[in-house]
């Protein structure tokens, strides 16, 4: 069973979002996603200052098997990409909700939560897809 922390929100494309105290948002990919991808060998993170619209491809995660885009679930300006992943892409496998975070952004406008899933809904999504 994959790990789905209750304090995060999720997308159907397997990103997770964490609201940080300063109003910014941290984004990564779920435990289910990293397990499906297999060993990650290459991660391309966005540079600070890049402006994203909800649904934009904002990062690339590449495993031994395949390359996948990561989509920004919300609009906003990138505050930081996780540079650790350049040398340790396996952090996403080992700690997908912690050191394996991919980017932080400052959301613009309402952080449109309409399409976001809570942990329970995401667990149901993962269960129905497998």
């Amino acid at each position: 069973m994959s790990n789905i922390p209750g304090d995060l929100r999720y997308t159907k494309s397997h990103e997770w979002l964490r609201s940080l105290p300063d109003g910014s948002i941290e984004i990564g990919i779920s435990d289910h996603a990293q397990a499906a991808l297999g060993d990650l060998v290459f991660v391309e993170v966005p540079e600070a200052g890049r402006v994203l619209s909800a649904g934009d491809a904002c990062a690339v995660v590449e495993s031994v098997k395949a390359a996948s885009d990561v989509y920004s679930p919300v609009s906003g300006e990138v505050l930081a990409g996780n540079d650790l992943l350049a040398t340790q892409p396996e952090m996403i496998n080992q700690d997908p909700y912690g050191q394996g975070w991919i980017l932080r952004l400052r959301p613009t406008g309402a952080a449109g939560g309409a399409d976001l899933l809570d942990a329970k809904a995401y667990a149901a999504e993962v269960a129905s897809a497998s």
């Binding site: 060993d39 290459f42 590449e62 031994v64 098997k65 395949a66 390359a67 496998n93």
Partner: protein, 361 residues
């Protein structure tokens, strides 16, 4: 969907199972990279029971294979010796690549790919009948490849009594029938080891014993990265019926010299006379990213080609691959990776074998 006799072992070990040419096969058990390193550094095992062993029996068997294969079975003079060969169409397109073992003058054994087994059997049977050769696919057998520097040591004690001494003395690229088992010092990883063929019902016990001896189960994912590092082609990726061995880096497996006639010889002689227009080369990606099959290869002057196999190499920690490119391609190319042209160096495989890197990085 077909299952090998080891399917339950794979599920119990937590394997991710995929459809591989109609077979439910383990692609990875845990970490593909750890499985890969286990084979380069210690010992790993693969269920390769989906591959098809075919026994050819009869007085005409040598003549049959001499006509069917691009490599020359005349090279097989010592019982047990193996030979790698392509089987060709008249236009020199590759029907399959296979291993043939010479056991005696009335018995040769083939090991062919799973996905091509049915067409191979039809092709062989069409030509075997007239020579009185019986063609017997051995779906009653399973095959476990035990590979790595410690593979033979870890497997040795688990062989049947009758196999142990002769298996220990087995030369590289030789196989040995003993009772109902067949132990060969062959593989698809670039490491030493055995490929052990045995009755299907005995396979789970051997698998479990190898596991207890510290041999790591490895899936098709690691098998692919290991064979690519070792510079070995994969049928269906790197060659198929639309290309010849000369366009697939397999000229070394073709014997044109002499009076022997074989299917595809005339077409190969014509290609050699005209000069092949394409070649298969190894690539080392010079930037971050991963080569994947079907990516476009751009050369300075010669035209375009295509990546046929690509991966991240756990041993080199770089991306490597094979590409089919125009024959005039020089030492460097660019590869279109997700819309960006990234430079790659043309290198001569193997990339890695016997635990070490074999190219300049």
């Amino acid at each position: 969907m077909r299952r090998t006799p080891l399917y339950d072992q794979h599920v119990a070990a937590g394997a991710r199972i995929v459809d591989f040419g109609g077979w439910e096969m383990p692609v990875v058990y845990g970490s593909q990279i750890e499985e890969h390193h286990a084979v380069r550094r210690d010992a790993g095992m693969f269920d390769v029971s989906h591959m098809c062993t075919v026994d050819l029996r009869g007085a005409g068997v040598r003549a049959l294979l001499s006509h069917l294969l691009a490599n020359d079975v005349g090279r097989l003079t010592t019982p047990g010796k193996a030979l790698y060969s392509c089987m060709l169409r008249p236009d020199a397109g590759v029907i399959d690549d296979l291993i043939v073992y010479f056991l005696d003058e009335r018995w040769f054994r083939l090991v062919v790919n799973a996905g091509t087994a049915d067409k191979d059997l039809a092709w062989i049977r069409e030509r075997a009948a007239v020579l009185g050769v019986a063609v017997v696919p051995r779906r009653d057998l399973a095959m476990i490849a035990v590979q790595g520097p410690q593979a033979r040591a870890k497997a040795a004690a688990l062989l049947p009594e009758a196999c142990r001494l002769p298996a220990a003395a087995l030369g590289n690229f030789f196989g040995l029938p003993c009772d109902e088992w067949f132990v060969a010092r062959t593989g698809y990883t670039g490491e030493d080891g055995y490929e052990i063929t045995l009755p299907a019902e005995e396979a789970p016990a051997l698998w479990n014993a190898l596991l207890a001896a510290g041999v790591k189960p490895c899936g098709l994912g690691a098998r692919d990265t290991l064979r690519l590092e070792a510079g070995m082609n994969l049928y269906g990726n790197d060659m198929d019926e639309t290309v010849s061995p000369f366009e697939s880096g397999l000229a070394w497996t073709v014997v044109l010299e002499g009076t022997r006639d074989f299917i595809g010889k005339a077409a190969l002689e014509a290609q050699r006379a005209a000069g092949p227009t394409r070649k298969l080369v190894g690539l080392l990606l010079l930037e971050r990213g991963v080569l994947r099959s079907h990516q476009r290869v751009v050369t300075d002057a010669a035209g375009e080609g295509e990546v046929t196999s690509g991966t991240f190499s756990p041993t080199l920690e770089r991306s490597i691959g094979f590409a089919r490119v125009p024959a005039a391609t020089g030492g460097s190319v660019n590869v279109d990776i997700r819309g960006r042209l990234l430079p790659a160096r043309v290198v001569k495989p193997p990339f890695a074998r016997n635990g070490s890197i074999k190219i300049e990085l």
